[in-house]
Structures are given as structure tokens and as C-alpha cells.
């Protein structure tokens, strides 16, 4: 659905996006991760047809963005960062304008308007002026605007920015529910969000792609991937520590605050079965057992800063 080749954007000699390549297939939800100014938004703006690439090409369903800009724009629903809208219009007027500009008319337009307001929970505020709405609602208006023509491609720049936890949850559910029929690119700073919604992640740093893979693969890059953390009732049994240390798959065993044992496996293997077996032998009383999936924050810092904390 989306194919990007050697896409590059320079601003007054400054390279914002440095010859990136990637593809997105139908059903994929791709997360763009990266620090501010990494080139995420610039890439999205080029795909949406707002910025003209300095060089390189991008195809949306076989149509090149610079060669057929209007046809490409018709295929895309785009939510710009911080969700701008015409604040003097009501929700319904605004969405109506977008729908008309996208070539929807009369009955079809009404059907789409009702559908999209229902989907994004805007039905009860449809006659309110956008300028008077809260940030969460405005964000939803921006999202509704991107969905009104039911496009096959969604490009969302920080879609859950400014929403409260419940609204974030709803938004993610909505994106997930639409994903099978579409190709979605969204940018986020929220790593939990990436895990919850996306099935692929691209980390951009200084205009280059430094990681392209599944969220799990990204997590596996963490030193803490599959780390096991056990809180005992009372002190950690020393024999257990000895036993664990003798296992070849174990890289490190640490004891924190006397009663918490942290076990780091060699090469990120899942040792839960082996550990469980040992625990059973010792009849140990556990208060908590936790398998660390990996700390995305830390991976992220490692990749983008080239150092671990």
C-alpha cells in the first residue's frame, strides 16, 4: 500500500529526512518513534503531500506522491500534529466541508458524516463550535476529519496527544478495529501505545531509520528482556541463589532489599519454566513474580543516544 524509496528532505541545507526506505502493507499499523525533530513529522508531511521531497519517491497504492498529488491525497486520511481545525465552524460544518472537499455529496456525504461522528463520539457535540470544545474533543475532530472519506491509508501525527487515559484507550481501539482494511502510519512518543496498537515499529533518529521491526523485536533489544523479578516473603533463600547461579542460561542474579531477587538471563531467553521448577522444590512463599518484557524507554534511549542509562 505504501512504498517509500530514498525519500529525502532538506530545509535550507539542513537534512531533515535522510534517504529513508520502508514499506507498509494492508493491515499493518506502523509506529514512527523517535525524539522530537527526528524527521517523523516531516516524513508524514511528505507522504500526505504537504511537503515536496527534495529527492526520492513515495508510492501510495501505486501512485507517486509528487507525480499525482491530488489522486494520492484522495487516498489518504491525514491528521496533522496538534490537530488543527477551523475553530469558528461547528463540528458538523467542519466535517461537512472536509467531506465536500474530498468529493462526497448529498446522501453519501450525510451517511459518512453520521458514521464518522458516531465512530469518534462526536454526535452529541456536532452543533458546537470547535473553538469552544476541549482539547480531547478537538483531537477527535481532527481524527474524524481524517476518517470522513473512509480512506485506505491513514497517516496520524500523534493521534492520542492531549487525550485522557480513557480517550486514549478508545482511540487505540478504534485504530485497531480499522487496521485490517487499511494501512496506518502513526507517530507517537508513547511506547506503551506502540505496543498496544502497532504491529511494526520504525525508529527514526536524525532523519535516518535506525530500527525497523516488530514491537517485540524492539523490546528484545533491551538488556532487561525476559528478566525475572521475584519478591519473597522474607529473605531470599541463599541455596536458591546458588542453584540459579549454577544454571548456564543465567547471566546475573541480584538481590535487592534482601527479599527481591532479580535474574537476568543469558541472551534474553525465557527462563520462567526452569525457575518455576526450582521454586517449587524450595516451597518458597512468593509475594510477586514478574517477567520483564523489556524496557522500551531504555531501548529507545540506547538507540537514539547511543548509550544506556
Amino acid at each position: 500500500m505504501i512504498k517509500v524509496e530514498e525519500l529525502r528532505k532538506e530545509f535550507a541545507g539542513l537534512v531533515a529526512v535522510d534517504s529513508i526506505c520502508f514499506e507498509v502493507a494492508q493491515g499493518e499499523v506502523l509506529a514512527f518513534l523517535g525524539p522530537n525533530g527526528a524527521g517523523k513529522s516531516t516524513t508524514m508531511k511528505m507522504l500526505a503531500g504537504f511537503l515536496t521531497p527534495t529527492s526520492g519517491q513515495a508510492w501510495i497504492k501505486g501512485k507517486e506522491v509528487s507525480a499525482e498529488p491530488l489522486a494520492v491525497k484522495q487516498l489518504i486520511g491525514y491528521l496533522p500534529e496538534s490537530s488543527p481545525s477551523y475553530k469558528n465552524l461547528t463540528v458538523k460544518e467542519f466535517l461537512g466541508f472536509i467531506a465536500k472537499a474530498r468529493g462526497l455529496f448529498a446522501k453519501e456525504l450525510q451517511t459518512h458524516l453520521l458514521r464518522v461522528m458516531e465512530q469518534t463520539g462526536l454526535t452529541e457535540v456536532q452543533n458546537k463550535t470547535i473553538g469552544t470544545l476541549s482539547k480531547g474533543y478537538r483531537q477527535r475532530v481532527g481524527f474524524a476529519q481524517a476518517l470522513v472519506h473512509d480512506p485506505p491509508i491513514l497517516i496520524l501525527d500523534e493521534p492520542t496527544d492531549g487525550l485522557d487515559p480513557n480517550q486514549k484507550q478508545e482511540m487505540r481501539k478504534l485504530i485497531r478495529s480499522m487496521a485490517p482494511q487499511k494501512a496506518v502510519i502513526l507517530s507517537t512518543h508513547n511506547l506503551e501505545e506502540m505496543e498496544a496498537v502497532c504491529n511494526r515499529a520504525i525508529v527514526i533518529h536524525q532523519g535516518r531509520i535506525v530500527f525497523n521491526g516488530t514491537p517485540l523485536e524492539l523490546l528484545q533489544k533491551s538488556r532487561h528482556h525476559n528478566e525475572i523479578r521475584i519478591t519473597f516473603e522474607g529473605a531470599v533463600p541463599p541455596e536458591l541463589v546458588e542453584k540459579l547461579n549454577s544454571l548456564p542460561e543465567v547471566a546475573e542474579v541480584r538481590i535487592v532489599q534482601g527479599s527481591i531477587l532479580i535474574l537476568r538471563p543469558q541472551g534474553g531467553e525465557n527462563l520462567l519454566a526452569a525457575v518455576n521448577h526450582l521454586l517449587f522444590d524450595y516451597h518458597a512463599h512468593l509475594l510477586e513474580l514478574y517477567l520483564e518484557k523489556g524496557k522500551l524507554d531504555e531501548v529507545f534511549r540506547e538507540i537514539t543516544l547511543g548509550e544506556s542509562p
Binding site: 503531500g49 504537504f50 511537503l51 491530488l70 491525497k73 496533522p80 488543527p84 465536500k100 472537499a101
Partner: protein, 241 residues
């Protein structure tokens, strides 16, 4: 393009701006006719006094209508939304211009009681009145086009307004009798006439006398079209800033 035109035109009426503007427009045009133009004292069934002040009134009124058209898009970030819709750059520029122009045309149309008044009082020259309305509308379009160019250069409406007023003022001034009289002995007739040939007032005055000179039409139309082309070029170059 039709959608954008409609939205832009309706936007004026969604806020009190439209009503305030129309009222001020009518007060200013009609007021200047009676108080400055000495409509009754002239004792003539003509709208000369009415049209006389349009170049000066438009100096403030037209930039007020057009100042926000692009500056506001920029400051609200909606420019990004607009240019990711399947609307071409040229279409967007034309739609915005036409919407604002149509709004001004409406305000101008609402001065029709003046026409009725002179018909009631005497027997005016209908051709001259029609030509004057046409001239006034064309001049408004030229002012608007210049305002749009300035508006696309900034994200601040106030700056757009002030700069537009200054540029339009210059273009009015070039043909102002006082200035041309002053310049003539220094620069000679030919240079002075050339300078005043670039002025709004020179062309406008000839139309309001009932002389629709093709040069005047070309002058106003080329300012309008030229302005729109420059407008589109600026937007293309500075979209992202």
C-alpha cells in the same frame, strides 16, 4: 474548489465580523457621500460624491477583509490541513479570492438605496452609475489581491493589515492630484503620467466618469491576476514555515 469557496464565504457570516463589516462599510460609504461629498449641496442627481471616496475607504476596508485569509491559516496550522485535501494550489488561491471578493460585492450591492435615492430625486445617468459600480468592484478586487499576497507572507493578521494598507495607499497616492501637480514641474508630464498610470485612482476615476477604457480594465485585471500568481508562488515556497 466549490467547497472551499462556500466554506470561506460562509465563514464570514459564522462570526459577527461579517455584520460588523457590512454595517461599517455602509456607514462609511454613505456617510462620506453626505458629509464629505456634500451630496445635497451639489444639487445633482449623480452618485459622483458616493464613488469619489471609495479608493480611500477601501484602503482600510479591503485589507480588513483579506488580512486573515492566509495569515490565519498559517497561525492556526490549518494550512497543513488545506493542502493535504485534494485541492490544487491554484484552486485554493482562486477560491479564497473569489469568496472574499463575493463578500465585498455583497456589501457593495447593499448600497443600492443610494441608487434608488438619486433616481427618486432626479434623472441620473444609469450608464455612469453601472460603470462606477463595475470600477469600484474591480478596484476592490485589486486591493484584495494585494492584501492576499501580503497575508500569505505572514502569520500575523495585524502585520498583513498594516502592510497592505501601506502598499495600497502608495498605489492610490500615485494618481492623487496633489502629488501629480507637485511632481509635474520636476519630472515632466510624461514621467508623471507614467507614474500615475500605475495608480488605482487614475484608472478608477476614469471609469467613474463613465469612460470604460480597456487600459483601465487591463490594469485592474492584471493586478488581480498578477497578485494571485504571486500569491500561489509564495505559498508554494513557504508552505511549511
Amino acid at each position: 474548489m466549490k467547497a472551499l469557496f462556500q466554506k470561506e464565504l460562509m465563514s464570514y457570516f459564522y462570526s459577527p465580523v461579517a455584520y460588523v463589516f457590512i454595517i461599517i462599510f455602509l456607514l462609511a460609504t454613505v456617510g462620506s457621500t453626505f458629509f464629505l461629498g456634500r451630496f445635497f449641496e451639489a444639487n445633482q442627481a449623480s452618485l459622483e460624491a458616493f464613488f469619489l471616496f471609495h479608493p480611500w475607504l477601501y484602503l482600510f476596508l479591503i485589507p480588513a477583509v483579506g488580512m486573515g485569509l492566509w495569515a490565519e491559516e498559517r497561525s492556526q496550522g490549518t494550512i497543513e490541513l488545506l493542502f493535504t485535501l485534494p485541492i490544487g494550489l491554484a484552486q485554493a488561491v482562486i477560491a479564497k479570492f473569489l469568496a472574499a471578493w463575493a463578500f465585498i460585492a455583497l456589501a457593495l450591492f447593499l448600497t443600492f438605496p443610494m441608487v434608488l435615492t438619486v433616481y427618486f430625486l432626479g434623472n441620473p445617468d444609469g450608464g455612469v452609475i453601472l460603470a462606477s459600480y463595475l470600477g469600484s468592484l474591480l478596484m476592490a478586487g485589486a486591493y484584495l489581491s494585494i492584501t492576499l499576497v501580503i497575508s500569505s507572507l505572514t502569520r500575523n493578521q495585524v502585520i498583513a493589515f498594516v502592510v497592505s494598507v501601506m502598499i495600497c495607499f502608495l498605489l492610490v497616492l500615485l494618481g492623487w492630484g496633489v502629488l501629480t501637480d507637485f511632481l509635474e514641474p520636476w519630472l515632466g508630464v510624461i514621467v508623471t503620467e507614467t507614474i500615475s498610470g500605475f495608480s488605482f485612482s487614475t484608472h478608477y476615476n476614469s471609469i467613474t466618469r463613465g469612460v470604460i477604457d480597456s487600459r483601465s480594465l487591463v490594469f485592474f485585471l492584471s493586478i488581480m491576476i498578477g497578485g494571485l500568481v504571486i500569491n500561489a508562488m509564495i505559498l508554494e515556497a513557504k508552505k511549511a514555515q
